[in-house]
């Protein structure tokens, strides 16, 4: 299936992966768009093209992690087996708390490290402060790069609500860790002694007083102990965060923005593209993930629906069971419907077989979805109560509720109904294709300069190496697709 495209230029994924100058690829984008899968697929492909690669994943799906052998949270890269060719793939899953702990341990003596790690405030901060994960992802990236053991580091970014959190959160935490406020907390006397700082001093005592009352004195003491223990490290935190930031601006880094062809995701992608430009960070291109296409695109939605209706109007003459073979047997709403085929509420329903959802779809998605849970199809499709039952229901792997309603047996789907079903399915697909095309056009108008590659929507989940290889192949070929979209 080749999704349609009218973008001017394509992203050359293989050229990017093969480029020895490129040392870091960052996959970013809003939540749920497939960043982790993209990062892992790029890793597999780069390794099988001969490079020595490490992939840093964040929150991978369990089965994906298992298939790569990185479902243990030990915070070190593991070599992935079964990679073909001379390259190597290493992968790891970020453990944010552990990374924080290790950073503390690496930058202070054992006694101080213990004091910090035991501090309740630190424990809360390292386990869950919004932004810690982003900060630690950057920290880990810096560490991996410093080891210089890999040709290429591919990083996934945390599943933040907005693509931009990845850039902003480390700064926020960094500015807290060596910010004015926290310095005031530990050293009010020092600062207050200086001329011109009287105001701060007054503000300070009032503030610690207030916060103390509000949070309880113990909490403030915990913070103060923590800050005192961390004091020696603050400079280090800031320095390394700055260094990693610079690394992201370097020519050896390439950003890939991942998005699905949906409004929200592409809006985030557009923000991110703009932000990267403002930060002078190198954007390689956009990965458009889960794109729908159709090889039968020359048959438009309208024509498909018209043809389906033609067939169905033939069908009512000799095929009573208009909905044979159609419907969702597992629909719980319909399945619990009191209706049974044996007790029709009205004659026009008399011959409906035991299917559970309206099979006769209205031409417009809108209309169609609004009556999805209704237990009946359109009555006009079933006007011949004596028609032969056309479909076997009883042997399906249905929910028990459905089975009890499925005593009436149908034998065969008429070719008209089958073909009409295929046509309606196609019409639905074409509607999706058109909607996605529209959303993409809005993005392209805004950012015609961004190179794009497309990954077709796969019907199933990606959770093994073969799946990742397939996605890698799509990433590499997605920019060369022939226009085949809605005509």
């Amino acid at each position: 299936m080749t999704p349609s495209t009218d973008v001017a230029a394509g992203l050359e994924t293989d050229a990017l992966l093969d480029d020895p100058e490129i040392r870091i690829v960052v996959c970013c984008g809003s939540g749920g768009v497939g960043k982790t899968t993209t990062a892992a697929a790029l890793g597999v492909r780069a390794a099988e093209r001969g490079r020595k690669v490490v992939v840093l994943t964040i929150d991978p799906a369990r089965r994906l992690a298992q298939s790569m052998g990185i479902d243990r949270l030990d915070n070190i890269p593991r070599r992935v087996e079964d990679i073909e060719g001379d390259g190597e793939l290493h992968a790891m899953m970020l453990d944010m708390k552990r990374t924080f702990d290790e950073t503390v341990e690496a930058h202070t003596d054992a006694e101080r490290a213990r004091a910090i790690l035991d501090n309740p405030f630190y424990q809360s901060l390292s386990a869950g402060f919004a932004g810690t994960q982003e900060y630690m992802a950057m920290e880990k990236l810096g560490q991996l790069r410093a080891r210089d053991e890999w040709d290429l580091i591919i990083v996934d970014t945390p599943p933040s609500r907005s693509a931009l959190d990845f850039l902003d959160a480390p700064k926020r935490l960094g500015s807290f860790l060596d910010g004015k406020f926290i310095r005031l907390l530990i050293a009010p006397a020092k600062i207050g002694g200086r001329a011109g700082m009287k105001f701060l001093n007054v503000g300070m005592s009032m503030m610690t007083g207030t916060l103390g009352k509000l949070l309880g004195g113990q909490f403030l003491r915990d913070v103060q102990t923590f800050v005192a223990a961390m004091d020696s490290m603050f400079g280090g935190f800031r320095t390394r965060a700055d260094a990693t930031y610079k690394l992201l601006q370097a020519p050896g880094t390439a950003f890939l923005v991942v998005a699905t062809p949906e409004r929200d995701a592409l809006r985030e992608a557009a923000y991110f593209v703009e932000r990267l430009a403002a930060e002078e960070m190198p954007l390689a291109g956009l990965v458009l993930n889960r794109v729908h296409g159709s090889e039968a695109a020359r048959l438009s939605e309208e024509r498909a629906l018209a043809a389906a209706e033609n067939l169905e109007s033939v069908g009512i003459v000799d095929q009573a069971a208009g909905k044979a073979g159609l419907g969702d047997p597992a629909d719980p709403v319909a399945a619990t419907s009191p209706e049974t085929p044996e007790s029709p509420l009205s004659p026009e329903h008399g011959n409906e077989p035991s299917t559970h959802e309206p099979p006769q779809q209205e031409p417009h998605e809108h209309d169609r979805t609004s009556d999805t849970p209704a237990p009946h199809g359109r009555g006009d499709k079933s006007s011949d109560p004596s028609g032969p039952p056309t479909h076997t229901e009883a042997d399906r792997h249905d929910t028990p509720a459905t089975d009890t309603a499925s005593v009436q047996v149908s034998v065969e789907v008429s070719v008209e109904q089958l073909t009409a079903g295929l046509l309606r399915l196609h019409a639905e697909r074409m509607q999706v294709v058109a909607r996605e095309q529209h959303t993409r056009d809005s993005f392209t108008t805004l950012h015609p300069e961004v190179l794009v590659t497309e990954v077709a929507a796969l019907p199933g989940d990606v959770h093994d190496l073969a799946g990742l290889r397939a996605v890698g192949e799509l990433l590499a070929t997605g920019s060369a697709s022939t226009p085949a979209g809605a005509s």
Binding site: P120, P159, S294, A307
Partner: protein, 344 residues
Amino acid sequence: MSRFQVVSGKGGTGKTTVAAALALALATEGRRTLLVEVEGRQGIAQLFETDALPYEERRIAVAPGGGEVHALAIDAERALLDYLQMFYKLGSAGRALKKLGAIDFATTIAPGVRDVLLTGKACEAVRRKDKQGSFVYDYVIMDAPPTGRITRFLNVNDEVAGLARIGPIHNQAQAVMRVLKSPETAVHLVTLLEEMPVQETADGIAELRAAELPVGRVVVNMVRPHLLDEDALRTASGGRRKEIAKALTRAGVTGSAGLVRPLVTQAAEHAQRVGLEREQRAVLAGLGLPMAELPLMGEGVGLSALHELAEEFRKQGVGDETADAAGQTPRGGRPRGSGRGVGS
């Protein structure tokens, strides 16, 4: 039916949309609901196509039968300043604190404080009564943080009570917990029929239960209609292609020979998806929770689609139960406009 309805779920599964539809559905028959958001994203305003919500409760929609949906975007910083004002009469000193970064510290860095303030404000709305002693809102619906953070968000009491062992924040945290752990509260999880969100839902339920937080329904969102089932497909791929080509031609489709293969391929993909969805449904059924199901709106979700989704909830009996499950003052329809404006 619990009066405090918390809507969580994996990111992007439709939490905001579902919370809004639920607020509309529960507002029928003259009821009054409050829809709150806590992440500062103005998702509700976008959805209802209104201007950004201020830190103030205001009516954003009316429901069939004269009900009203009010909305509030809770802002932790403003909530904190309100508390400070309330307890300490801080006045303009609040601004000085803000300058120093103290407010920022308390609401974004100090672990848990922010969440205490957010849940605290919501619980205050749940318990608020008017002069006659009846609840100002029949239901409060929260567009909550995603599954990965929901338990920690709601269970923040433990942590904060541990950190801030005395003081108003401590007391506040405990009061909130009493509401959250009672039958007055129900936490719903939104999911899609896909592996990751279903997995996350299962994990989330386990976590909520471990924390003794009351789990409500699983809401399956964006359910796609199924047009063809696997049996029909098997028949199709099994040697009826010529017949299908003829049928296509009869129906007026030109060049039908070349279309059969891609059409059948699409049907195969569809069938595979249906199969996967069925697996995920089975997993969800195994969770033993009441379910609700919302269809995929093909044109996206605007105001009218939102009303359709609310209608869908009503059809499935969501909200039929009266709001007195927790033994609180029951109230049916109430005269409109009797609630006082709050929070402004």
